[in-house]
Symmetry: C2
Subunit: 182 residues, 2 copies
DNA sequence: AATTATCTATCTATCAGTAGATAGATAAAG
DNA sequence: CTTTATCTATCTACTGATAGATAGATAATT
């Protein structure tokens, strides 16, 4: 028993790393912070993720997978574009409200230019995936703001505004307006 | 002549700091980076800005002042809301294109939760100012997306997408769509 | 005009703390 | 006896920050 202790521990490490990164960015997390947070030594974190780049890539890759899975299929069900975009908005809202922090994509996207190459690529892939999902979800829509780029941008920007101005309703308002114009 | 050498030097320091912050965030700039960049010693940077918090506050305060001044008045001229929002969009676009980097508000807004209290407050004030300008600029508009929060959020989010996905047209597209729906 | 004092802006040198990273020991499991 | 996962111990590099020296400009006093 306890066969996937590695996997369990790795996930615990990634949970902690994700929490720190969401709060202050990639440079605001250290191997020691994570180790102290979960009660091990920093060298043990290095065992699971030798370089910080490995850690960063793993955090964003896991997040991308989870986020896209949580959105479900953008096509198969008989849904209107509005319903699908509502689902997308709810996913962003959940991230903000559950942890009272900006989502991982927002912060790493904003820091993109200063990230190590590997991590930067992983962030780019995340956005490509989300944009692809949104494009599919919009199939058939003729609204004036029915563009994946515009919608994802608006959601992420509103999320930043929510935390930076400490007015958590900013994201809700943007979701409402996006829905009207899809 | 050369009376405000202090002010000149301070500005040079702030220019350098702003450049580094826009690339990788507040934690991605150091006193030594700045000193090396402009050819002085790190202790001289401390002379002008004793603590890193002082430096951060000065960077964002100067930026807020410049940005709002560049927007001009949101009221006095006989302009339509569309024209004013176009001016706003152009200001964001200029920041992105001139330096090929995200704007200072975007990156510090995203990092907000991890910033020192003083800097966080200054970032909040910047957003309050921009939102106030945009609200005034929208006076009389009845468009479906005529909300300061929505517009600023969309512009900033699109800017992040532009750099993170390396598709510089994302911001342009959002400006176009915003203008249609104001 | 000459002297004295103060201010400005830089430097050199150094500090304690923390960063990412690695080598090697240890222990448990199979 | 190898693999997995952890530890101790350590390294070098860099962080923000400070103390103290210095040169030059400016201002005040004699």
């Amino acid at each position: 028993m306890m066969k996937n202790q590695n996997s369990d521990r790795s996930d615990t490490i990634l949970d902690s790393a994700e929490k720190f990164i969401r709060k202050g960015g990639f440079n605001a997390v250290s191997f020691r912070d994570i180790a102290d947070d979960i009660g091990i030594k920093s060298s043990s974190v290095h065992y699971h993720f030798p370089k910080k780049t490995d850690l960063g890539k793993a955090v964003i890759d896991r997040y991308a997978k989870r986020f896209l899975e949580s959105l479900g299929s953008p096509e198969e069900k008989k849904e209107t574009p509005q319903t699908r975009i509502n689902r997308l908005g709810k996913a962003y809202l959940a991230a903000l409200e559950e942890d009272d922090a900006i989502c991982l994509g927002c912060i790493l996207g904003a820091e993109s230019a200063g990230l190590p190459g590997d991590v930067q690529e992983a962030v780019g892939s995340f956005f490509d995936g989300v944009l692809r999902w949104t494009s599919s979800a919009l199939a058939g829509s003729k609204g004036p703001s029915a563009s994946a780029t515009h919608i994802i941008g608006a959601l992420q920007g509103a999320m930043v505004l929510s935390v930076a101005t400490k007015k958590p309703d900013a994201l809700k308002e943007t979701i409402r307006r996006l829905q009207m114009s899809v």
